[in-house]
């Protein structure tokens, strides 16, 4: 008698990270990313250009409000470059976080019907936003090129690659790790949806998105530095814009935070994700 191929048991373990199964579903991941792009662009009025318009409109708003009206310092960096770098890195983090945090609420109908490794959804969210970030990065490059050629803006290309890699790993990684934890909470306590949107907005002010870390007074700098996102933004700006306050220790702190969040988040996600359907 042959042995059984599979079995279904009551408990899912904390460490049941079936990576082989995840790999088997890679085509679904690709399709989901494709779906998100196709659907997004067929539905919106402005079509595919929306990925580009959104940060540009935000940029113009920020320049007018924070630079012209409020007179916030940008650390001697051209304000357009300063805000644009903040906006696109922030988008990458916050969209990864929000998308992951609503995994169960947004896919409830799907999860009721079919089985597939639930982790596919957070991965597809992060991948989608990485691609969007890539497109926005081209825009950033154009803007940077404009300043280089017309304003003799000084650049340090040797720093670009490490900064880019750091951002590409840490920003969505932190977003996804945090999102995994919140995905279970939003599924269980539905009123958290509003709290998450509010939280993301508040977190933005605790992150050097619209201001440089250097202008933060030393009493509250500790709070901003406690935020593992801070070195990501500062490093990105240091590399591309020449100004930024960070240390390798801080980057290590961000990396460790990300790993802890992802490991802890995945454990919760795998353990309790399958129990969420037990409500009548």
């Amino acid at each position: 008698m042959k042995t059984w191929d599979w079995s279904i048991v009551p408990e899912s373990s904390w460490f049941n990270w079936n990576l082989k199964e995840l790999w088997e579903y890679r085509h679904l991941l690709v399709r989901l990313i494709r779906r998100d792009f196709l659907v997004h662009h067929q539905q919106t009025l402005l079509g595919p250009m929306w990925i580009v318009y959104q940060p540009i409109i935000t940029l113009i708003t920020y320049v007018f409000i924070f630079e012209k009206a409020v007179g916030l310092s940008t650390d001697g960096v051209p304000s357009y470059l300063f805000y644009f770098s903040g906006i696109i890195v922030w988008n990458l983090f916050s969209e990864s976080f929000i998308g992951t945090a609503f995994t169960f609420t947004q896919n409830a109908q799907l999860f009721e019907k079919v089985y597939f490794p639930r982790m596919i959804i957070p991965f597809s969210v992060v991948a989608t936003h990485l691609i969007r970030f890539g497109i926005q990065l081209i825009l950033f490059a154009l803007l940077l090129a404009f300043f280089i050629f017309t304003k003799d803006f000084e650049v340090y290309p040797v720093r670009w690659l490490p900064a880019l890699l750091t951002t590409l790993i840490l920003a969505p990684g932190l977003g996804m790790g945090l999102g995994l934890i919140f995905s279970l909470l939003t599924a269980k306590y539905r009123d958290l949806v509003n709290v998450i949107h509010l939280g993301v907005r508040l977190l933005m002010f605790a992150t050097p998105v619209i201001y440089p870390l250097s202008i933060v007074s030393s009493d509250i700098q500790a709070i901003v530095l406690f935020n593992p996102l801070t070195p990501v933004f500062e490093f990105f700006r240091y590399a591309f814009l020449g100004n930024g306050m960070f240390s390798y220790l801080q980057l290590l702190y961000s990396l460790v935070s990300m790993i802890v969040l992802i490991v802890f988040g995945s454990m919760l996600f795998n353990k309790f994700g399958s129990k969420l359907q037990d409500v009548l």
Partner: protein
């Protein structure tokens, strides 16, 4: 023969309303006791020992064990809420069991998921891939069968049109076509025969036969339609309130199921006015549903004439008539018939109403009696006092889908070749 699935002592406890206990504090306590102190989960044992279960918990399945052999068509029958869908959901890994274990061989797919993940904005082509992947097909598998799927669905011309422009028929056909080309080792079919037109259903049944006989795949077939079950399955299981009521050869199980239905409460009576339902005008003495069957153990089917008999105490001297309402399970009233009105004096009054055979369609119905004064004022409504399950019956019809409509009258219908 080898077994394809083995289910051992499967149980599923649902909590009503919220996941867990509903309160954050209770959740923490529960976690502390069961996970840290390693004692038995207090909520779980409480629910188990206590048969009358607090209203917050419900055993959808209780110690269900069975196995299905390879290449077998296994039927699962039971009334609504018997736990059939819960079982299928556990088998398709959508929910996890509370207790027990299922072991199996090969890929399992279910046709309860047809059209899962279809996105209205995307073209038929995109949706075939998306849906196929959701159902666990690999890229190459879909690519290889793509033309076949399109062909089977019959929507070639619209394959690059967003599915939101499809008619509902086209949509279902495309969804089914993907599912039908899954080639799983174990296929779960849940009432899919209720979709699509007759021609399409024939196609589906053909596919099912082909899958089970030629390809030697295992099929789990869930249906309300006893004729379809009898014709297609070798063995069957009858689930009742989450437990296995009967299991074995299909004829035996179908019989158990049909005779079980007869045990539904078909009569009520009250000995004294004090305990009887009613009010200061009316007290009900008895209500009874009598099916006119050739053989008392036969099920009530669409051909069976029914008589509803009732008696009540009339407590005033008034002008009275009685209305009889038959409602579908959804609560929709199908018809309402009224007795003539007479002046009655105090005392017991009896009445009866006949519902002809070949009138109600198959399904579950509730009967209410309404007592009316002066043909205008409602005195009392004995709501849903009787229920009937009408079984299907068909002769010379090669179609197993749900017959549409609440009524199924046999009106004279002629059809003949015109002589030219």
């Amino acid at each position: 023969m080898e077994r394809a699935i083995q289910v051992e002592n499967l149980s599923k406890l649902y909590s009503l309303g919220k996941v867990g206990t509903g309160s954050f504090r209770q959740d923490i306590k529960r976690w502390w006791v069961s996970q840290i102190l390693k004692k038995e989960d207090p909520f779980f044992t409480e629910a188990k020992s206590n048969q009358q279960l607090s209203t917050d918990f419900i055993w959808a399945l209780r110690d269900v064990s069975f196995d299905v052999k390879q290449g077998e068509v296994f039927g699962i029958i039971g009334r609504n809420g018997a736990g059939k869908s819960t079982l299928l959901k556990i088998l398709s890994k959508v929910i996890s069991p509370t207790e027990g274990i299922i072991k199996g061989r090969g890929r399992i797919n279910s046709l309860l998921e047809i059209g899962t993940g279809f996105h209205d904005e995307l073209s038929g082509r995109e949706n075939i891939y998306l849906n196929g992947h959701f159902l666990g097909m690999t890229y190459h598998e879909i690519k290889r069968k793509f033309d076949e799927i399109v062909d089977f669905s019959g929507v070639e011309r619209f394959i690059d049109t967003p599915v939101k422009r499809y008619s509902s028929g086209m949509y279902v056909r495309l969804a089914f076509a993907v599912a039908a080309h899954l080639e799983p080792d174990i296929l779960i079919i849940d009432e899919v025969l209720a979709v699509g037109d007759a021609e399409f259903q024939k196609k589906c049944l053909g596919k099912m036969h082909e899958v089970s006989t030629k390809q030697g795949r295992t099929i789990l077939f869930v249906s309300h339609n006893m004729q379809a079950i009898s014709n297609l399955c070798n063995r069957a299981m009858f689930l009742n309130r989450g437990q296995v009521a009967d299991i074995g050869p299909v004829e035996k199980v179908v019989n158990t199921y049909l005779s079980g239905i007869q045990k539904l409460k078909a009569s009520h009576s009250w000995n004294t006015k004090e305990v009887a339902p009613g009010n200061e005008f009316i007290r009900i003495k008895s209500v009874e549903l009598i099916p006119h069957l050739k053989n008392p153990t036969d099920p009530i089917d669409i051909r069976t004439p029914l008589t509803i008999k009732f008696q009540f105490w009339n407590l005033k001297n008034i002008n009275l008539c009685v209305g009889l309402q038959v409602c579908a399970q959804s609560g929709e009233c199908i018809f309402d018939v009224s007795s003539p009105a007479y002046d009655f004096s105090e005392g017991v009054i009896e009445g009866q109403c006949e519902i002809a055979g070949n009138f109600l369609n198959d399904g579950s119905y509730y009967i209410s009696l309404i007592f009316v004064k002066d043909t205008s004022v409602e005195l009392f409504n004995l709501e849903e006092c009787l229920s009937i399950d009408v079984e299907d019956f068909r002769e010379n019809i090669n179609w197993y889908g749900k017959w549409p409509g609440y009524v199924r009258p046999k009106f004279p219908f002629e059809l003949r070749q015109k002589v030219t």
